[in-house]
Symmetry: D3
Subunit: 162 residues, 6 copies
Amino acid sequence: MTDLTHLDATGAAHMVDVSAKTDTDRQAIASGRIAMSGDAAAAIAAGTMKKGDVLAVARVAGIMAAKKTSDLIPLCHPLPITKVSIDLVPDATGVTATATVRTRGQTGVEMEALTAVSVALLTIYDMGKAVDKAMTIGSIRLLEKTGGKSGDWRRDGESGPA
Amino acid sequence: MTDLTHLDATGAAHMVDVSAKTDTDRQAIASGRIAMSGDAAAAIAAGTMKKGDVLAVARVAGIMAAKKTSDLIPLCHPLPITKVSIDLVPDATGVTATATVRTRGQTGVEMEALTAVSVALLTIYDMGKAVDKAMTIGSIRLLEKTGGKSGDWRRDGESGPA
Amino acid sequence: MTDLTHLDATGAAHMVDVSAKTDTDRQAIASGRIAMSGDAAAAIAAGTMKKGDVLAVARVAGIMAAKKTSDLIPLCHPLPITKVSIDLVPDATGVTATATVRTRGQTGVEMEALTAVSVALLTIYDMGKAVDKAMTIGSIRLLEKTGGKSGDWRRDGESGPA
Amino acid sequence: MTDLTHLDATGAAHMVDVSAKTDTDRQAIASGRIAMSGDAAAAIAAGTMKKGDVLAVARVAGIMAAKKTSDLIPLCHPLPITKVSIDLVPDATGVTATATVRTRGQTGVEMEALTAVSVALLTIYDMGKAVDKAMTIGSIRLLEKTGGKSGDWRRDGESGPA
Amino acid sequence: MTDLTHLDATGAAHMVDVSAKTDTDRQAIASGRIAMSGDAAAAIAAGTMKKGDVLAVARVAGIMAAKKTSDLIPLCHPLPITKVSIDLVPDATGVTATATVRTRGQTGVEMEALTAVSVALLTIYDMGKAVDKAMTIGSIRLLEKTGGKSGDWRRDGESGPA
Amino acid sequence: MTDLTHLDATGAAHMVDVSAKTDTDRQAIASGRIAMSGDAAAAIAAGTMKKGDVLAVARVAGIMAAKKTSDLIPLCHPLPITKVSIDLVPDATGVTATATVRTRGQTGVEMEALTAVSVALLTIYDMGKAVDKAMTIGSIRLLEKTGGKSGDWRRDGESGPA
């Protein structure tokens, strides 16, 4: 059976030693989606159309969250992020978010990409909640990671909802 | 058509004025789930059985994230949280998280509960990602909120995945 | 001669005791300006015209900074901010920022308004610095404060640049 | 016409990719000034003379703010700062602040130096505001930057106030 | 046998519900000491004598840490602190720190006072470590707390070192 | 007489310039102890035995605090930590904490190890304070540091309490 690397032999949590790892260029892409009522989606669309800040606020929140990842996820290593971009695509029933994060470091940036997506979607929830409290965030997952000793990884096909 | 209260008439984002609202007791409950391979679920279960810290780490991460909500979500008001608890239930294909947050304040704690759930699940992803990178986080949603002028709200039935 | 309330009798810094003060509604308005070359101002205008995020990013940065004020200014009291709005007006030679902050608390929100203006303008510098490194930020000042025992205060006329 | 590098082709904000840049030694120097009444300047001077902490508090605030720059400025890259010093010179009508910041990294430290100056001056405002609410912060600007591919830059002569 | 209130019946950590508690004025005083070589103590004294910032830096660090307590201690409630002062007394073999913290809130400020003392002393260690790496921090303890339903508490006599 | 490197010639605090230092692998180990009543120690032991989160919460707090060290200690350089582990050993009269921190950087991680120990012990205080407010934290000290130009350092024998 597989073990969790974040626990030592006694089960105690620790931040895994990556001292011996080489600095390499690493990238991770993650995505997620917030599903909402037609009314909420229309409010988002209206906010966007009249040059409203709605997607910009979510994008900025996601970018800033990527930089806070090691402050949020207890066993995550701090990393000097070299790029973050967040793509937000609204449609008639929600918004899909995709985050791309890069670093040149000793560990990967999967958590940074997943955190950026999560916080961008939570921010959309916050802005839309007066219209629709039942919005649901899901399908938060890694799409691919490249760089690092463990090699590249890409999700097979499109995974279904959680 | 409904409008987004977080944008002013010109579409500019602002933190909504809640100065005139009364301090009342408020509570929000949110939940979410991380779906994973049997191997990853078994690793979580093993980590839990031998008194490992795996669920404790996720729980602490979620509680601390609730306190950082207004630092993460740009237009969210800071609130003096008076209670946070996070329930994590592992099973053969994943872990379900439920967060309960309370305050006595001028706005609700929906975002705090949703943020706590999201970060607890991201933390489980972080600890399990060496075993299974394809884990998916979803069904993050509000279950109920009570208190405040807009009254109580409860989700109708169990909503499907996002 | 007047004394600094933030130093005790021996000159040691302390966070002034406001325990005995009453919670009252308080508001502060501050403004500032970044002066830039015509090229930089044109780039800002172009970014704004094509629905670019440029002013939204600065606005979000200012709002979030208002919430971090007591974390930045050592002797500043933490406060539950109830409203922040930031008005950014670009013109041919720069951008003028005005921030309005409210709370119901034991001390005023002058520092929050001034910090919001400062960080919004620094963010514009950051976005424009590839075009013009010589941009200058100035005229950061309080316009008015209302509420609290010391009463209301309004700046006389328009003060010149610092 | 020039473009803003912090916006992509659609106008969306992103953290620019610096992955391909080389780590080099970089330095930035910025300055600014707070102008105040004679009474406030005298209070600062008195606080300084009797070994009071007044300038030390502002200096520490500026140094700590330099370390928080990427947390405050949304699209700013996190950097391992290797030196910060802040020079504060009080006179009869105010205080002039100059910050010097160094790093060995992939981007420059202009924003760190400007942020350090801004927060040091805001801290002086905070300590003096009981004496003089009309104090004005200005002339915040980059004096020079060295290192990095874009080469060295120095401000021509002394620029006037913003 | 006594139980830990921070664990629920299953042993899971939670932030205890204080919603039903009344806001009352509360104060806590804590102290601690860093013991050092004569050389290090002399360096501190010299830094202090020539108006150096050494004690001011530690004092500011302690005050700012008090404001971060709920961000550092996982199950600690966030509180609107209304006063912090830190007294630092250097002598021939070290420095003694005493912190006084006040709030008007639903829980006490013991943790804020203890955290302020700890971080002030760690800051002195940081500044003196080039002279003496063997410095030891100890005797960190609560001296008294007042306010709140559980009533006042004062330490009996002087407790010995930890 | 020795001088404090963190003060310049005029006594002003600054973050020491480490730009010229080489990145090397560095490690620091620190320890400390919280002494408590038999009742409190029994409550900790009971919380641990029934798989309670008590030590896990303290461990996570310490690990996260190590990552916040440069945000807490004003003149401390930010560092990309590559490993943190915290060992907590409860006995009949208290808990002993030992932290090991590694980095590959330009300065050492002594402060990170000492901060991790301090915050882990403060967290135990927080969880046990309903049982015993008189608990005392002490013996916080560096055990060894390795790496860096100044060479390795190990504490001679066991130092007594502070």
